[in-house]
Symmetry: C2
Subunit: 344 residues, 2 copies
């Protein structure tokens, strides 16, 4: 970027006008968008779904290796992922930002390009927000709003004994991408002359920097007339997240290591870093895939979908939560961290 426009030259209202100048409303439900005290949404005949995330520089993202456009896209996508995880359709977002004066208008504009790209991809309208100074760092708050046909939303607490456990896409890639980026950052800080070695790693880097929300899976389930018995998105890792469903549904879990979907690129990266690919999938987090349970009789409807893997089933709570390894051993599932395989 060559130009640098100071944000104070525009003022708060000028800034909002600039950042929202190209908004085109995509949803008939958006009655009133940006520019008043509040937005107005019309979900007649539907229930409204709301989710919110707060992202803090240095805690949730590192601008040293995160392009602002990707960050804008990801901030929206991960929040929409929560709406899809309710079996609902996102329709609007609000986006609030706080930033220090090291941010130029051009930098903010780049961030918003990513925001608008995600809005377009997922068909949602940006309808409000707030901008302010921060004393330090970039802070992003996103609220996503969606709609769902009455009482077809899917909670975490309603899985049944015997239900199949399914995940979309593949797991572990986002964590391995983060591992690579952190490694390259460390090398760069120690030896700024060394060129980062990111070739052949675009898959895992993309998984970390530009995750997608699984709109396609929710649409597929609807088309196939499958209502998951429980669902959530995988933000903390498969272990931690299936344990949420188990705990809230008062059930146990059996997972099969060999059934956990892991991309070839992720396996290779894990081996290169000396990490266990299964551990990355279980505990890595940030994949934003959907994790859901469904009745066994729906199995035939999903078996041909390569984007859905059955990884285990729900058991009685008395059986606890376990994973059966490829070698046939049974380990207790634990919520977090690299001690995922702790023998009972």
């Amino acid at each position: 970027m060559e130009e640098r426009t100071e944000i104070q030259d525009l003022g708060e209202f000028g800034l909002i006008d600039f950042l929202t100048r190209n908004i085109e409303i995509q949803n008939a439900s958006t009655i009133l968008g940006v520019g008043d005290d509040a937005a107005i949404i019309d979900h007649f005949g539907k229930q409204t779904v709301v989710s919110t995330d707060l992202l803090v520089e240095g805690v949730h993202f590192d601008l040293m290796y995160t392009p602002l456009k990707h960050l804008g896209y990801k901030s929206v996508a991960v929040n929409l992922s929560d709406i899809y995880a309710m079996n609902a359709t996102p329709t609007q977002i609000t986006m609030s930002l706080a930033f220090s004066n090291r941010f130029s208008l051009e930098a903010l504009n780049e961030f918003y390009e990513g925001v608008y790209a995600a809005c377009e991809k997922y068909g949602v309208d940006l309808v409000g927000g707030d901008t302010s100074n921060s004393l330090k760092g970039f802070i992003i708050s996103v609220t996503a709003i969606g709609e769902v046909t009455p009482d077809t939303f899917v909670k975490r607490s309603t899985a049944q004994k015997g239900d199949l456990i399914c995940v979309s896409g593949d797991l572990g890639g986002a964590f391995l991408g983060l591992t690579l980026l952190e490694r390259e950052k460390k090398i760069f800080l120690e030896s700024p002359d060394v060129k980062p070695d990111l070739e052949n790693e675009t898959y895992i880097i993309g998984r970390q920097l530009k995750p997608e929300a699984r709109k396609d899976i929710v649409e597929f389930l609807e088309q196939e007339n499958i209502t998951p018995t429980a669902m959530m998105d995988i933000s903390d890792g498969l272990s931690s997240d299936i344990l949420h469903i188990a705990k809230q549904s008062n059930l146990g879990v059996i997972l099969y290591e060999e059934k956990i979907p892991i991309a070839q690129e992720s396996r290779e990266a894990a081996l290169k870093f000396g990490l266990d690919p299964t551990a990355a999938a279980l505990s890595g987090g940030e994949d934003y895939e959907l994790l859901f349970t469904m009745k066994q009789e729906d199995y035939d409807k999903i078996v041909l979908n390569e984007q859905i893997s059955v990884v285990g089933y729900m058991t009685d709570i008395s059986e606890g939560a376990h994973i059966i390894t490829k070698g046939g051993n049974k380990f207790k599932l634990v919520a977090q961290g690299w001690n995922a395989f702790k023998q009972e």
Copy 2:
């Protein structure tokens, strides 16, 4: 506070469980609240209203003189004020926080006491949120959701020529409270032994630290069958905010200085600080009173309500935006700052 419990001892999920343990749902529209990927709201037959605010320590509030309970209350109230300013009724909020490890569980609990007090006062449900670390400072993001009978919401852009300009309550107090608190902070930092002189100033301090949203005014207008032609809340000061309505409605403004409601306590404080009470009302901000325009024929319905003052009227855009002083002089209204009185 005697006790100090470290937040990391609970973990994120334990913390959320603790902070939300006493929630009682107040609205039939709250189908699903805290504890899943998203909340579900049912506004059948109504339109949904959404507003969001991001508050940053050191920019929007100073914890040196802001009790956490008041801050929690204010964070909710100022956001609800935006919903009322649409002529709507708030029903739910989400609340996200980021905080550094200098915050104990007891401190967060105090903040949430204020949040829940405001929720109870205004009859709204806390239905979601997010908590995380911050590298520095306390960050609060609130999204308020409300409902409105279809197409009865009131925008800023729909005032008509000849409409009366009304404000609720009184103005300038919040700014004068802030001025006092900043002055006492400065004295304290210079001479920690001097006891702060806050006696007899509870009114203006209360206006700054614990503002209320004007639910009563919106209810009164509905009861009297008055639909304002335009409305917003006064967060930046009467000058700046009436200029928003004028600009968006493509009109001019005449205000009368003598009609601007200023509490006796605010007048006395302004004189003590050597400030012009009218300037405090015009440019002070943060009063969170409602500013609305209405048809002249509705005047009889509001004349007996002591909480509503008519302060001027909307004119043709060619006449510009002016204030007539008590002395009969005409000054141009400017958006911000202490040069509010700049003679044409």
